[in-house]
Amino acid sequence: MPVATEKHTLVALVVDRPGVMSRVSSLFRRRGFNIEKIAVGAAETPHLSRMTIQVLGTQARVEQVRKQLEKLVDVVKVADLYDESVVSRELALVRVTATSEHRSEIIQITSVFRASIVDVAGDSLVIEITGDEEKINSFLGLLRGYNIKEIARTGVIALSRGGSSPLLQDKGPRKKRLKE
């Protein structure tokens, strides 16, 4: 019986300690998930990091992995942000060949996408673009006509829309860890 697979954005607050990344990624591997994208950075509380992880899976299996993640001692809280209620952004740097023949076309595309040129060399440009995944994908799609030499993407980071965050609601003893 085929079950609907969908994209989930899991956000996790984790204690900033060595080895946390491997604990989290090992758990995904063990439960049979391929991480599509992952981004890690500091959170609002000094000793906590925030991970944003995109996976494909059924609701039930993603919920299972979310609960397993929350069991890790170094993980404070995990929430599954549904696509529709999320502000998500990704950053990409692209090095593209830009000979005098195509340079102006590339600059034009760049400005249409409100991307910016951050480095110029004799026959290439480095372009920085920020946006949701779709925007970056379509930008890269257009650039493919011009010999892309290198792409670096950060992975998606996300916040839920509205005034509150599912990550910060906790009445239990763990609330202390969110604040400290």
Binding site: P18, G19, S22, R23, S26, L27, R30, A60, E63, Q64, K67, Q68, E70, K71, L72, V73, D74, G172, P173, R174, K176, R177, E180
Partner: protein
């Protein structure tokens, strides 16, 4: 606050003492030498020298299960640490709290592929609740206490502490009276009141309920609470393998074990029930058999302290996250006294139709041996088993009546568990009789622990069901691989001579008449004693739910099939 300057090794020992540790199962080596050197300063920490680190981990596990306390094992870096892995994994799957301490190469050598260096925190990532590499001696005390807290809190489990050699040696300030609060690490609330009410309503409305009790009931100390709920509402109780003993099996509401080798009436009850009240269990595939045919008519109430177990394998109608004992305290008063005579009579009829037959006749069958150990002890013993046929015969034929009466590697199914775990249980509970029931295969996997048992004079009574085969595998080859026995015949040793070589008394038993007297001699003997039972080589474990089949489709022993033709079933669906 008082402070003292101590070496890391001393701080570790101080912390172990504060945690109430009485015994450490260990094996020395280069990186833990500084720790061994200070052990004589702490005479209250008894060190039991095992013969192989796997034995240390299993012994700590056996100790933990028998006593309910945290078991501690100790190994050196590299091969010492990797040898612990099987034991840690077994403790992880069976929810047993152990703290494994490993030495690590000195900090400056970490990552250099130094002699006996291995990334044991990386290796044990998926089989520990948490693990720690202690890189600062100033953090050592707090980390040790956190390790014990994590091991015993919530759903218990193994924790590993990896300590570099130079951290043991370095002197630092120790605060003997410092208190630590790790409560923020707790993840698990007690059961939600609305859910508990829903569960009570489901029980009150059910005509054919069963309680499915796992090891969580024992871990949470909820056996009495479960029994009073079962009696009040007249709900029969089915056990998982590791749940055996949570209800006295002689109780009329006890149906014994379900699953692949569960009793026929337990499997039938689960297949016909309209409500499963699952307590501290995790719907393991050996218990549920094929999920598509599992309890087709049942609503499921699942109470477990681990939220990730709820809904993992089967969809649950009423999920309750919480400690089983505490949830039952709230739930029981909401449950109405019930009269479920019809349902219980139905189950009794199944029990009569599918009796557990111990074959009579002259042959020395293992079921008879287990039965005789039960009769001789009246169940007043801890039973530690290995993995395989003898484990199932023990589960089926021993009437467990005390929590933790059965200590067995259930989830991992680690052969070789029996001897070291029995040693650990005996060290933890010296006043209790401990029977180690093993096979001739598994016993040989850790047979060197006879040396530890002898050296510690741990009075373990060892029964080997010696059938000259890796019996369970042979049974599968017989039933599902056209009786082609490949790699399953054991040219066994003379176990009695091996025991004697270790200084342990023993005897060999070859016929029924000698069984009981040998058991009595073993129990009368003040020290460890080994009995090598030469049992029927091709006896099979029945009933059996063939792999891939549903609980209802169990195959019965040919002996029962002869009695009642209605229940005959082939294994054609393989």
């Amino acid at each position: 606050m008082t402070t003292v300057r101590l070496k890391g090794a001393q701080i570790l020992c101080e912390c172990l003492r504060r945690e109430g540790v009485e015994v450490v199962f260990g094996f020395p080596g280069g990186t833990v030498l500084p720790l061994y050197d200070v052990l004589p300063q702490y005479p209250e920490l008894r060190h039991v020298l095992v013969r192989h680190e796997q034995g240390a981990a299993h012994a700590a596990d056996g100790y933990a299960r028998a006593t309910g306390k945290v078991g501690v094992c100790l190994a050196t870096s590299g091969p010492g640490a990797t040898n612990l892995v099987t034991g840690i994994a077994s403790a992880y799957l069976d929810t047993s709290p152990i703290v494994a301490i490993t030495g690590q190469v000195a900090r400056q050598f970490i990552g250099q592929d130094a002699f006996q260096e291995v990334d044991i925190t990386g290796i044990t990532l998926p089989i520990t609740k948490n693990n720690y590499l202690v890189m600062e001696s100033s953090r050592l005390a707090e980390t040790v206490h956190e390790a014990f807290f994590v091991a015993r809190t919530g759903r218990p489990g193994p924790v590993l502490l990896d300590i570099p050699r130079d951290v043991f040696v370095e002197e630092t300030t120790y605060y003997p009276e410092q208190d630590y609060d790790f409560n923020a690490l707790k993840h698990h609330p007690s059961g939600h009141p609305t859910q508990v009410k829903k569960a009570a309503r489901a029980i009150n409305e059910s005509r054919r309920p069963v309680i499915l009790a796992g090891r969580g009931v024992i871990v949470s100390g909820a056996c009495q609470g479960m029994l009073s709920l079962a009696e009040r509402a007249q709900i029969p109780v089915v056990n998982t393998l590791l749940g055996l003993g949570s209800i006295p099996q002689t109780h009329f509401l006890s149906l014994g074990m379900l699953g692949m080798h569960g009793s026929a009436h337990a499997n039938k009850a689960v297949s016909h029930t309209d409500l499963i009240v699952a307590l501290g269990m995790r719907f393991d595939d050996r218990a549920t058999a094929n999920l598509s045919g599992f309890a087709p008519e049942a609503q499921i109430v699942h109470i477990d302290i681990d939220p990730a177990e709820i809904g993992k394998n089967v969809p649950v109608d009423v999920p309750i996250v919480g400690d089983v004992g505490r949830v039952l305290e709230v739930l029981a008063p909401l449950v109405q006294p019930g009269d479920r005579r019809q349902w219980i009579q139905q189950i009794e009829q199944w029990r009569a139709e599918h009796p557990n037959i111990i074959p009579d006749g002259a042959e020395l069958v293992p079921q008879y041996v287990v039965n005789q150990i039960w009769e001789a002890t009246r169940g007043d013993t801890l039973v530690v088993t290995g993995v395989g046929q003898h484990q199932m015969w023990t589960a089926q034929n021993f009437q467990f009546h005390r929590p933790n009466g059965l200590i067995s590697s259930g989830g991992l199914g680690a052969m070789g568990f029996e001897l070291p775990a029995a040693l650990g249980a005996k060290v933890g509970c010296p006043e209790d009789t401990v029977w180690c029931i093993g096979g001739d295969g598994g016993t040989q996997m850790t047979i060197q622990e006879l040396g530890t048992i002898a050296q510690e004079d741990a009075s373990v009574k060892i029964a080997i069901m010696n059938n000259g085969f890796l019996g369970m595998v042979r049974q599968w080859q017989e039933l599902f691989y056209h009786r082609r026995y490949v790699g399953t015949q054991l040219g066994g040793p003379d176990f009695v001579m091996i025991a004697k070589a270790y200084g342990i008394q023993g005897e060999r038993v070859t016929d029924r008449a000698q069984v009981r007297p040998a058991i009595e001699r073993a129990m009368a003997h003040p020290g460890p004693y080994l009995i090598d039972f030469l049992v029927e080589p091709e006896e099979n474990v029945y009933p059996m739910v063939p792999p891939g089949a549903s609980l209802m489709d169990f195959v019965e022993s040919p002996r029962v099939r002869q009695r009642s033709p209605a229940s005959s079933l082939g294994v054609s669906n393989i």
